[in-house]
Amino acid sequence: MTLQDFMPILPEMVLLATAVAVLMVDTFLGDKRWLTWVGLVGVLLAGAATYWLALQPPADFQDMAASDAYTAFFRLVILVVTGLGLLMAMNWLEAHGEQQGEYNALLLLAAIGMTLMAAATHMLTLFVALELFSLCLYILAGFERERASSGEAALKYLLLGAFSSALFLYGIALVYAATGALTFAGIAQKASLSPLFLAGVGLLIVGFGFKVAAVPFHMWTPDVYQGAPTPVTAYMSVATKAAAFAAFVRLFVGTLGVEKSAWVPALAALAVLTMVVGNLAALSQHSLKRMLAYSSIAHAGYVLVGLAAANTTGTAAVLFYLLVYAFMNLGAFAVVIALERQGEGDVTLSQMRGLARTHPLLAAAMAIFMFSLTGVPPFAGFFGKLYLFQAAVQANLTWLAVIGVISSAVSAYYYLNVLVQIYMADPETPPTLAWRPVLGLATLVAVVFVVGIGLFPDFWLQLALGGMRVILG
C-alpha cells in the first residue's frame, strides 16, 4: 500500500490528525480557547480536501469506502455541522469548566465516523464507522459529570445504542449468510428474497431505525436529548441523523434497490408512525430540549418519506432535507444554549417569555428557525418538505405525502407556541442570557444558511441530485 491509496479518505485522515493535535496541544496550552480554533482549522482543511477530492474522478479505498459526489455531499454537511458544533461548545465549555481538549477531540473523532458512514461501501466499514461515532457520542452525552441527568442520558444512550448495534450486526451476519458477500457491490449482485436475506434486511432497518430515531425505536431520544449537555444534543441531533441516513440511503436505495418491493412498505409504515407520534408527543412538552427531541423524531419521519419513495427525486430530497435540517436545528439549539442557566442543562418554555423585549435579535433568529422547522416559505425548511412530499407523490405514495402534510400542520402548533411565548407573553423574570460572541457567530451562520438555501434552493438541490446520480446511475 502506498500513500496514494489513502487519498480517497484524505478528509478523514486530516480530521484524525487534528483530533490528535488537539489532544497534544491541550497538554501544554494555557488558554484552552485556542483548542477550538485548532479544531476549526482542521475542519476547514478537511473541507478543502473534500473539495479537492470532488474535483478528482471517483475513487475507492480498498473496496471499503468510496469517495464520490455522494460522499462529498455528506462530508460537507458533516464538516459544516462539526465546525458549528465546535463554535457552539466553546463558550459553554468555558462557562462550565469542562475539559475542552477532550471535548473537541471527541467531536472530531465522531465526525470521522460520520463521514465514513457516508463513504462506506463495505459492511465492515459501515459497522466500524457506526461504532466510532456512537462511542464518541456516548461519552459526550455524559460529559457534564457533575449533573446526574447527563450521566443518566449517557447510560440510556449507551445501553440502547449498544443493543441496537447488536441487532444491526446480526442483520449484517444474516445478509452475509444469504449473499456470501460483505461489499455493497457483492450484496447487490446476489440479493434475492430468501427468508435469511429478508430477516437480515429487517434487522438492518431496526438498527438504522434506532440511530435515526424512528418510531417505534425512538424511546431513547427524548431522554438522551434532554439530559445530554445542550451543545452535544445540538450536534448529535443533526449529525447522527445525516450520517445514519447517508448509510441508510446508500445501502437500501443503492445496494438493495433491486429488491425495493421488499422494504418500501416497511419504510412507509415507519415514516407514518414516526411523523405522527413525533409530532403528537411534541405538543405537550414544557422543556424546550425535549420538545426539540420529539420534533427531531418527526423530522426523521419526513426524511423517511423521501427514502420510501426510493426514486432519484426522493433521495435527492433526503439529502437536501438533511442539509437544511442541520442548519435550522443547530440554530434552534444555539438559542437554547444562550438561554440555559448554569447547572440546569435545560430550558423551559416559560423561560423564553418576553425574550423579544430584552433580546430582539436572538428572538428574531429563533423565529426564523421555528418558521423554517414548521415549513413556512420562503425559508429553507419549506423547500425541504416540498421536495420530499413531491417525490412521494411521484412514487405513487400520495397517501404518505398527505399524512406528512397533515402532521406537519400539527407541528405548527408547538413551533409557533414558542414564538407566542417570545413575542406575546410578559416575562416573569427577565430571561438571563449566556450570550457570547462565538455563539452569536454560529447562530448567524445558521440564519444565513436557512435564509440563503430558502432563497436559492435550486443550487443545493442540484448538488444533492449530483450525489444521488452516483448511487442510482
Partner: protein
C-alpha cells in the same frame, strides 16, 4: 463434520438469551452482559458462515475479530460511564435512574 445449522441454532439461542437478558435485567452491568452475549452470537454466526460458505476468504473471520475489539471498547466506555454515574447516584439500577421522563 458438524452441520452448519447446528452452529446457527447455538448462535440463535445465545442471541435470544442475550436479548432476554437486556429486556429483563434491571442492573445496567447485567444489561451490558446481555449485549455482549448478543455480540458473541453474531461472532459465532460470522465465523460459521465463513467456514462453510467461503473458507478461502478471510472477510468473515476478520469481521469477528473487529467485533470483539469494538465490543471491548464499548464495555470500557460503558463501565466508565456506569462508575461516573454510580459516584453521583449510588446506584446503576435503571429503575432508580429516572430523572428524565415525560
Amino acid at each position: 463434520m458438524i452441520p452448519l445449522s447446528w452452529y446457527l441454532a447455538v448462535a440463535a439461542i445465545l442471541f435470544v438469551i442475550g436479548f432476554y437478558g437486556v429486556l429483563s435485567r434491571r442492573n445496567a452491568i447485567a444489561i451490558l452482559m446481555g449485549i455482549e452475549l448478543m455480540l458473541n452470537a453474531v461472532n459465532l454466526n460470522l465465523v460459521a458462515f465463513w467456514r462453510y460458505t467461503q473458507p478461502d476468504q478471510v472477510a468473515g473471520q476478520v469481521f469477528a475479530i473487529i467485533v470483539i475489539t469494538v465490543a471491548a471498547a464499548e464495555a470500557a466506555v460503558g463501565l466508565a460511564l456506569f462508575i461516573a454515574l454510580y459516584r453521583l447516584r449510588g446506584t446503576v439500577h435503571i429503575d432508580e435512574i429516572d430523572l428524565l421522563r415525560g
